[in-house]
């Protein structure tokens, strides 16, 4: 009887520990660190902890995308870095920047293939909250595609999914049935949108030492 009790107790402790590990421990260990993402340099440590990324917003005349550098926390893997870039691109930008992404759009997931493609799974708000114009649809799609391909050059193409499934288009124009490569023709000016090797240091998963 005492022995059975001991077994039950051991099993119970193991179950509790397992549950803790499953629901608390692992999510905590794998959770994204909540870094302070600000549009302006904050004077915080720059010893490899943060990276500059170019994100894309709507120009003053509404006819182009404009690239702006923002500071993001450096991540340990390509996939997690890509996730951080997309989340920053989806986030509401500080005024007076205007986001090309419909408000409330969330990132469900991001997957990489060994062919250098990224699959970005967005929430349905990206379709439901859209104004419906083709220019803005181009802006929405290419803000996401460019944010990844410009900042993480090892990813060459991006396919957007909505709620985990493939879609033809967001609102009737831009073909999302295939992975798309970046499109800098929609971006205002090379000086405003730094390209690789120039003003912007492309993000990399290989550790770099910065002073």
């Amino acid at each position: 009887m005492k022995r059975e009790l001991g077994i039950y107790l051991t099993l119970a402790v193991a179950a509790v520990a397992g549950a803790w590990l499953l629901f608390v421990g692992l999510p905590q260990w794998y959770a994204e660190p909540t870094a302070d993402e600000t549009a302006e340099p904050t004077g915080m440590a720059t010893d490899g902890e943060f990276v500059e990324a170019t994100l894309f917003y709507i120009s003053d005349d509404g006819m182009q995308l404009v690239g702006f550098e923002r500071r993001l926390r450096r991540e340990p893997s390509l996939a997690s870095q890509a996730r951080r870039v997309v989340e920053a691109q989806l986030a509401e930008p500080p005024l007076p920047l205007l986001s090309p992404i419909p408000r409330g759009t969330r990132l469900h997931g991001l997957y990489l293939t060994d062919r250098g493609e990224a699959f970005v799974d967005l929430s349905e708000e990206v379709m439901l909250g859209h104004s419906g114009g083709s220019l803005e649809e181009l802006f929405t799609v290419y803000a996401v595609v460019n944010a990844i391909t410009v900042n993480l050059p090892t990813i060459t193409a991006v396919q957007i999914l909505v709620n985990g499934t493939e879609v033809d288009t967001l609102v009737g124009h831009v073909d999302l049935q295939n992975p798309l490569t970046g499109n800098m023709r929609l971006v205002a000016d090379p000086d405003d949108a730094p390209t690789e090797g120039e003003d912007l240091a492309p993000l990399s998963t290989t550790p770099t030492t910065t002073s």
Partner: protein, 572 residues
């Protein structure tokens, strides 16, 4: 507008009446040139055009409004200011008709009818000023002749005279330029080249030429209407060489004069080459010498197949080369969105799906009645049609050209202008745009031998037409730019789904920004829609004619790439 009136003139008017009308106008012209009162800004004068001649009506700007002094209107329009001036009001009479003006009151009583003005009359130092719209709104009601104010050109047209409206546009495309003159009502002009200018003469009394925002370049330096004759003068630039012109009928009792300008001497010819084209023959150095005994360590065994001719090189022809230009017999028009998919919408509530359907119907009618071509609409009513189905409808109906109509929107209210798109390959991932994966396949046929069969995935049908689509889209952008406001990037490439499956040259047009209140009003107006239809109609005519001539020039595939060479064989 013409009112029968009994002419009972005062002795003073009788004296004036005896003068020659031209002298009379000249006398008033001198009056009008008088220096304006302090505090007023003199403007460019209006031009009064009658069957007798022309004269100037000086205007002034008061509080930002363009006004004309009332006593300067009395002579030309036979008006008399009443002797008794009451406080804040003034009475004008013409024969037995009376106009009552009230200072600071935007409504004017004209022979018992109330007429609204954009701003009230102003009394200043005993002189009365009225907005220039008074001439166009109030005076016709008391005039016994037709009277019209043409604001854009600053003309006041009186009498049964012919003053066509002329809208001039100029567009430079690479080495060449194109001038377009839309003339309403249709009056055919004559063109004469005099040294370094064109003199375009209309059989009319005067011209209502809208101001033209022409950017001078090496072909065209300037364009202006003659002040005294129905003539438009085009000053030509140093590089102008030759021209050709054509007059086309346009909708709405209008004609269009199109003048194509060519530079004086084409640049030295270079072999035409685009990314999808190969030179017709290999360079001489690479060509094997025919009949020469080729030294060979291992001679070909007897019965071995003969070596393939040079043109049978292993690399197969690009897909675009396989698509031969064809006669244009049927046009597919795709009115964007529909049914529960309303597309975008304007601040006034106009819906994209309604605008596109209305324009598509007008375009269909115009093509069928004026060109006699078969037209296929991908939807004829307010219904949902999937994007791939739209391309399939065009394919199944064997359309030769595809045009998808859309309306744009922006979060920035100021965004404006039309844009024309054709499919881009650049943004597709390598696997999707790998042309070699779509190579032709030799298939054995009955009786021996084989035949090359193209195996192209349905959803990539457009790939082989990208070059022709670039030409088609460029033609549409050219023609629309003569008639509509264009966005700064009028011709673009984008991976638009509806174009992907079209098995013919295909373009998508964004007609304007419905999110802009001005453009919303334009896009829903019959006049603007007629201009769109005229532009598209003219595009089809041009593309059809150029296709029939076999497209002499290769088309740059990237709209952002400047032309590097004028290919030989292009227009003189």
């Amino acid at each position: 507008m013409i009112k029968p009136t009994v002419h009972v003139r005062t002795p003073v008017q009788n004296t004036t009446h005896m003068l020659n009308r031209r002298l009379q106008l000249a006398a008033y012209g001198l009056l009008l040139l008088a220096v304006p009162s302090p505090g007023q800004t003199p403007d460019q004068a209006l031009t009064l055009v009658t069957s007798e001649g022309r004269d100037q009506l000086q205007t002034v700007t008061l509080d930002g409004r363009r006004m004309v002094a009332l006593d300067r209107l009395t002579g030309p329009f036979d008006l008399t200011i009443s002797g008794e001036r009451r406080e804040n009001s003034l009475t004008l009479s013409r024969d037995d008709q009376v106009i009552v003006l009230t200072a600071n009151e935007g409504l004017v009583s004209v022979d018992g009818q109330l007429v609204s003005l954009p701003s009230p009359p102003v009394e200043q130092n005993g002189a009365w000023y009225v907005p220039i719209d008074f001439i166009g709104r109030a005076l016709p009601l008391v005039s016994d002749e037709p009277l019209e104010l043409r604001r854009r050109s600053g003309l006041v047209v009186m009498g049964n005279i012919r003053v066509p409206q002329v809208v001039a546009r100029y567009r430079r495309t690479g080495q060449q330029g194109r001038l377009g003159f839309m003339v309403t009502p249709a009056i055919e002009p004559t063109i004469e080249q005099q040294d370094d200018r064109f003199v375009i003469t209309f059989d009319a009394d005067a011209l209502d030429l809208a101001p033209t925002n022409l950017t001078p370049d090496s072909l065209v330096v300037g364009l202006a209407a003659d002040q005294n004759r129905p003539v438009v003068t085009v000053e030509l630039g140093a590089e102008f060489g030759s021209y050709s012109s054509v007059v086309e009928p346009a909708l709405g009792n209008a004609i269009e004069l199109v003048i194509d300008l060519k530079p004086v001497a084409p640049p030295p010819p270079e072999p035409p080459r685009t990314t999808l084209q190969r030179p017709a023959t290999p360079p001489p150095a690479a060509q094997p010498v025919p009949q020469a005994p080729a030294p060979s360590a291992s001679p070909a065994p007897a019965g071995a197949p003969a070596p393939r001719p040079a043109e049978g090189d292993p690399d197969l022809p690009a897909l675009s080369e396989l698509a031969a230009p064809r006669a244009i017999r049927a046009i597919a028009i795709d009115p964007g969105h529909g049914g529960s998919d309303t597309g975008t919408s304007g601040p006034g509530g106009a819906l994209e799906k309604d605008v596109t359907l209305e324009v598509a119907r007008r375009l269909r009618n115009a093509i069928e009645s004026q060109l006699g071509l078969r037209v296929v609409l991908t939807r004829t009513s307010d219904t949902n049609v999937a994007l791939d189905e739209r391309a399939a409808i065009a394919n199944n109906n064997r359309a030769d050209l595809f045009i998808s109509l859309h309306v744009n929107a922006s979060v920035r209210e100021t965004a404006t202008g039309a844009e024309v798109f054709y499919l881009s390959l650049a943004e597709y991932d390598d696997a999707a745009r790998d042309l070699s994966a779509l190579a032709a396949e030799p298939i054995p046929v009955v009786g021996g031998g084989s035949r090359i069969l193209d195996i192209v995935p349905w959803e990539m049908a457009q790939l082989r037409y990208v070059e022709e689509s670039a030409r088609w889209a460029s033609t549409v952008a050219d023609e629309l730019s003569l008639r509509l406001p264009m966005s700064p990037r009028g011709l673009q490439q984008a991976p638009f789904r509806v174009l992907v499956g079209a098995n013919m040259p295909a373009a998508l047009v964004e007609l304007g920004f419905i999110s802009n209140p001005d453009q919303e009003a334009q896009l829903t107006s019959p006049t603007f829609q007629t201009a769109i239809v005229n532009g598209l109609l003219r595009s089809i005519i041009r593309y059809r004619d150029e296709a029939a001539r076999g497209f002499m020039a290769p088309m740059p595939l990237d709209p952002g790439t400047p032309e590097t060479a004028t290919p030989p064989g292009r227009l003189q």
